[in-house]
């Protein structure tokens, strides 16, 4: 029983971290209808910048502020030079553009800051905590706490403020939003900036777990099945499924043989796509033909 609980708790914590990665996708997909392939590169870019700054002796808080500023600037630049010229193009065109962007960001980041593995020290002790005979990773606990706080803040921002209502308006019907005087470019900049900042937090937490280097951008690939199963438009879906997937990976995986873990989530995602293309909690799109 304690093994199960331990896995369950560990799974929920790790799932929250997957969800953190997924949120970046969900935000951008909702606002601009594009699957942002560059999310992983932006995550790596943020983490790399932070690590390079701290290695150069910049205090943690200052490094965080500078990195955050740089990501906001990048978001504005992406909107201005990529999204705006391509407005009204097909989603596939936009997707291809983010694919190109991904290589650009990765290349620039590694060109400037190198590709060796760096450690991130966030000052969180990675000592196990014991709850009776259940062992919990202290780092995962703190990381999950940060993720939850971030989700709550984002939820408040997007549900309680006028910016949030406008964002939902843009997501729902772009031409109507424009006709009402919503500055769609501004909304895109805000959303990309927020996605970048969420990516930075995710990048730092994942980076602290596995080191900051190229493969960090692949974390997002693991978040992909989480997104598909949860539904592309649902942040809650991303969290629930993130937890579930992590649980399945650690618990069902070994039951079916060790090698299964890496593709298990993708298999599940495929199954969900066949049965319910909108995902478990996503909005079903109804299109008049």
């Amino acid at each position: 029983m304690s093994v199960f609980l331990e896995t369950l708790i560990g799974g929920v914590l790790a799932g929250t971290l997957y969800a953190l990665v997924a949120i970046g996708f969900v935000l951008i997909y909702k606002a601009s209808g594009v699957f942002n392939y560059a999310q992983g590169s932006l995550l790596l870019f943020g983490a790399l910048t932070f690590v390079s700054l701290t290695e150069a002796g910049v205090p943690t808080v200052a490094a965080l502020a500078v990195t955050a500023g740089l990501l906001v600037f990048t978001a504005v630049a992406i909107e201005r030079f990529l999204l705006r010229p391509l407005a009204n193009r097909s989603p596939l065109t936009l997707f291809m553009a983010t694919l190109g962007l991904s290589y650009l960001v990765e290349g620039v980041a590694q060109g400037l800051m190198g590709s060796r593995v760096r450690a991130v020290d966030l000052g969180i002790d990675d000592l196990p905590l014991f709850l009776g005979d259940i062992m919990i990773s202290q780092f995962d606990l703190v990381a999950a706490g940060v993720a939850v706080v971030l989700v709550v803040v984002l939820a408040l921002l997007f549900h309680r403020t006028r910016i949030g209502i406008q964002l939902r308006g843009v997501a729902d019907d772009t031409r109507a939003a424009l006709s009402l005087g919503i500055d769609i470019h501004r909304i895109w900049q805000i959303v990309w900036a927020v996605a970048g900042l969420v990516g930075l937090v995710a990048g730092l937490l994942w980076g602290a777990r596995q080191g900051v280097q190229f493969s960090l951008s692949l974390v997002v690939l693991k978040a992909l099945p989480v997104l598909i199963i949860g539904g592309f438009t649902s942040i809650a879906g991303a969290i629930v499924v993130g937890a579930g997937e992590s649980l399945a990976e650690t618990y069902v995986g070994p039951l079916l043989g060790g090698g299964i873990t890496s593709w298990f989530a993708y298999g599940l995602a495929l199954a969900v796509l066949l049965v319910r293309p909108a995902g478990l909690l996503g909005e079903r799109q109804i299109e008049r033909v």
Binding site: I163, R168, L180
Partner: protein
């Protein structure tokens, strides 16, 4: 203020060689209801989309409120006070009626993102004012009782009214309505027509509308512009239009008697 709020001169629009609007000129007087009529494909919706900046005309000029434009942009049009509704409802279906109308006030917003995010006093005051203004418009259109309902769950006719509420809440100088009566039964049509007339009379709102129901158009409009294949066929008060032989010919099968009905 000039008597003419909007003037188009020699405006043409083509999509890859297919001409949608061909050298069109007409003017809209301040405070009137101007109806655009014509068969399907005559270029009515294209024209509305030019006025609101969705389409870019290849040639011609548009003068709105004394300012000359070669082309409008949707954001610019909205901020200069051109409001509109769409042919098929373009409401934010997941949101409540009230939220939909509040979004309609976007161009009136004066707060910054930081004020909004931190909910500083100015942002709160603006939010309260927006809410009050939106409720007032809902009262005007008798939609108060549905304020909290998700728009997607409402009947089509009610949704049309919500879209109207959203379009007028920011007090546009010019309101463009793309088939506000389409898909409605006779009773709903009369209700919306009465609302449009009231908005025009009580708020002195200038309205340009597209409508197929000729009976209602000829009763409601002060000024009718008839389009056919992107050209202007006739332009004048409804009494003149009703008896224009070119107009009657364009509506093949429609006798003058039916037009007058």
């Amino acid at each position: 203020m000039s008597d003419t709020i909007l003037e188009l001169t020699d405006v043409s629009l083509a999509f890859k060689g297919l001409t949608a609007i061909n050298g069109l000129s007409f003017a809209v007087r301040r405070g009137e209801i101007c109806a655009l009529i014509g068969p399907n494909g005559a270029g009515k919706s294209s024209l509305l989309n030019i006025l609101n900046g969705v389409y870019r005309p290849q040639s011609g000029t548009i003068v709105f409120e004394g300012e000359r434009f070669h082309r409008m942009e949707p954001l610019k049009a909205a901020r200069r006070g051109i409001g509109r509704s769409f042919q098929n409802n373009a409401l934010f279906s997941g949101m409540s009626v009230l939220d939909n109308v509040i979004v309609g006030l976007s161009r009136r917003a004066r707060t910054t993102l930081v004020e909004e995010a931190l909910r500083l006093p100015r942002a709160r005051a603006q939010e309260a004012a927006f809410r009050e203004r939106a409720r007032a418009v809902l009262r005007l259109l008798e939609l108060e009782s549905q304020a909290g309902t998700a728009v997607g769950t409402l009947p089509y006719g009610v949704q049309k009214k919500v879209e109207l509420a959203r379009a007028i809440v920011a007090e546009p100088a010019l309101l463009l309505l793309d088939e506000p009566l389409a898909g409605m039964n006779a009773r709903e049509k009369d209700e919306i027509a009465a609302i449009v007339e009231r908005l025009n009379r009580e708020l002195a709102l200038t309205i340009v509308l597209i409508e197929h129901d000729l009976g209602i158009v000829l009763r409601l409009a002060h000024h009718v512009v008839v389009l056919d294949y992107g050209r202007k066929l006739a332009d004048g008060p409804p009494e003149t239009i009703r008896n224009d032989p070119d107009v009657i010919a364009a509506y093949i099968g429609t006798s003058p008697a039916a037009l007058a009905a």
